[in-house]
């Protein structure tokens, strides 16, 4: 009980609250800008958190991610340009409402749905994470090795239509993660005689390059020679019924929000699926179960409620595998894992034993972030709308410069800026050739733990090749890994035929 109370007290300290509030506000503004999403914002802002306490840092980043999820809906509703991939389904009903002059009402519905979905999943995380972590403590190196193998296979399917391309990307990510000092011999491996590589590639420049810089390079292709965001003209009706969501309308969407939140939690808790899947699945369910399915896509509030509550409920749920097993379920969770590591902690079941106060502080921050999101969303709705209007020629130079400075800040090293630029180019090619940069990054992050588990298994079993078969959970997980690979290959072959 003591760590819980101490954690809550830490979370409500003025400094933590201030950073949390800043995180949510910046997240909403950033998410509203098309092309910049939550994980990208986390990558850009992680360097700033070096100088914060762990709770303030994680709170700030979690707030950033939560805010970005709602922010994505702003440009989706007003400009028909989803600020984040998961807000794509929000455009289908949000933009028609904007065209009818009801953009503000659509945004309010998106806000209430986002907050309710987010709150639901946070509550679930708080309730089930600790008991699950107790069970997870019984998992030894063989289980961890098998589990990470399974996670890598599942995650290989994200962001690409072909699992082989996903596995290639994951393999390359594993390889990049192995550059540095080898854990058993403590000698340099794959460093090519470059002394800066002996401590390995830092996560921050790699993440900034892959997520932010490469995205900006692609966004610039579309902006150069094209119309800028300044061209958008928005009109807002002043009639109260066109601006506010009535209690009746809110209650009418209650079951949609609840169902979508449950779908979002289910999808978010499984590594590899992610918010866009939750959002599309929920929209589909909402339409199928609606009494007026033909109105979907023409400005139906339930459509916005389905998409937004589902994608926001993924935020809390995706932290379940991270906190319980130390395995990031999606990109945002992977970036948060990086932030934990930067602050000297390793997410996983041991975190509940070693840093219980911090974990409960984070849980409290997650709940408070939901409240802040509601407040900021209500107060700054009109103000944040302006973020979508920043011209490309102003926005992108600032983001590019921030990428450079962000990569430099981590270790005050110009070498890291080169690393960021190189991974920016790699990310550009990966995106254009449809290789999953998500699988690459998660492979890069997970490989040290994967190799450590393997070494532990090999050393403790003294090269006994059947060591894995004495651990039933490890066997089940390895069989599942094989099943996922075979099933996906067969599925791909059938699709091609």
């Amino acid at each position: 009980m003591e760590p819980i109370l101490a954690g809550i007290l830490d979370a409500i300290s003025p400094v933590s609250l201030l950073f949390l509030l800043a995180g949510v506000a910046i997240g909403v503004a950033i998410g509203a800008i098309p092309g910049i999403n939550g994980p990208m914002a986390i990558a850009l802002f992680i360097p700033l958190t070096y100088y914060m306490s762990p709770l303030a840092a994680i709170g700030f980043l979690v707030g950033l991610n939560k805010g970005a999820f709602f922010g994505g809906a702003i440009s989706a509703v007003l400009l028909r340009t989803p600020g984040t991939p998961e807000a794509a389904a929000t455009t289908w009903d949000g933009y028609p409402l904007t065209k009818q002059g009801k953009g503000e009402k659509a945004l309010r519905m998106a806000l209430y749905s986002s907050v309710s979905g987010d709150f639901f999943s946070t509550l679930l995380l708080v309730i089930i994470a600790a008991p699950l972590a107790t069970v997870a403590l019984y998992m030894g190196p063989p289980e961890m090795f098998a589990l990470i193998s399974l996670a890598l296979t599942v995650i290989a399917g994200i962001g690409t239509k072909s699992i082989s391309r996903g596995l290639i990307a994951a393999g390359l990510g594993l390889l990049a993660g192995m550059i540095g000092t080898e854990p058993v011999t403590a000698l340099p491996r794959l460093t090519f005689g470059i002394y800066q590589l002996e401590s390995g590639l830092s996560l921050i420049p790699v993440a900034i390059g892959l997520l932010a810089f490469s995205e900006i390079l692609i966004q610039l292709e579309r902006h150069i020679g094209g119309a800028s965001a300044e061209d958008s003209a928005m009109t807002f009706s002043k009639r109260p019924e066109d601006r506010y969501v009535s209690i009746k309308e809110l209650l009418g969407s209650f079951w949609t929000m609840l169902r979508s939140s449950i779908i979002g939690v289910g999808v978010g808790a499984m590594p590899g699926l992610g918010a866009p899947v939750a959002s599309f699945l929920s929209y589909d369910q909402a339409q199928k179960r609606s009494k007026q399915p033909e109105e979907f896509g023409k400005g139906k509030l339930e459509g916005i409620a389905a998409s937004e509550s589902a994608n926001s409920s993924v935020v809390g749920a995706s932290l379940i595998p991270l906190f319980v097993l130390g395995i990031p379920g999606n990109l945002a969770a992977a970036m948060l894992m990086g932030a934990f590591m930067i602050h000297g902690m390793m997410p996983g079941p041991l975190l509940f034993e070693q840093n219980a106060q911090l974990i409960y502080g984070i849980f409290a921050s997650l709940v408070i972030a939901s409240v802040f999101l509601l407040l900021i969303g209500r107060v700054g709705l009109r103000l944040f709308c302006r973020a979508v209007e920043i011209p490309a020629s102003v926005l992108y130079p600032i983001v590019i410069f921030t990428c450079i400075i962000g990569a430099y800040l981590g270790q005050s090293s110009v070498f890291d800026v080169w690393v960021m630029l190189i991974f920016g180019v790699i990310g550009y090619f990966m995106r254009k050739l449809d290789f999953s940069y998500v699988a690459f990054l998660i492979g890069f992050i997970l490989v040290p733990e994967w190799e450590r588990s393997l070494q532990q298994v090999v050393i403790s079993s003294q090269f006994e090749p059947f060591a894995f078969f004495t651990r039933p959970i490890a066997v089940i997980l390895m069989l599942l890994t094989c099943f996922v690979i075979v099933k996906t290959f067969v599925g791909n072959l059938r699709k091609k035929q």
């Binding site: 866009p276 110009v414 080169w418 180019v425 050739l433 994967w450």
Partner: protein, 170 residues
Amino acid sequence: MTRVQRETTTYVAIALACVAMLIWVIPTFTPPYPGYGASPALVPNVAVGLTLVMAVLELIRAGVGRWSGRARPPEDRQYPEDTDSGGFSQLGRLRLGHLARFMIPCALMLPAMEWIGFLPSSVLFLLVIQVLIGGVRPVRAVVLAVVVAGLMYAAVRYGFNVPIPGPYGW
């Protein structure tokens, strides 16, 4: 180059790189086996092996498809156009000129910081990037460059107490 040709070229390049890794890079740049645990080369070999197998499988699949004469969907035969799905995949045309246009100033900025200092090189860099993007308002461009470079300098130097790159401290 069609999408199929581009994919085949990519897989061939990946497969060749993997072979080079397995034959030369990993044996040369990996510590010797210490006599306990798994070999330091095991995990790199597994990662590269996995990548190689996947690339070869894709090449075999492409070869079988071509040999069997099965017609591919039109979008696979055409030049890949840009997609704007809003998702992770941004499959599209590789614009190397565009890439070079932005990478060259970024690459030049780093040595420029050593020669002329952080602030002047940052202002120049921001101006160049704005021009390349198509910023047409000169006053706004100069003000933005000076303000952003100045704010970053203040944040890095005085906010985070991080040493500024370059010989002059500004």
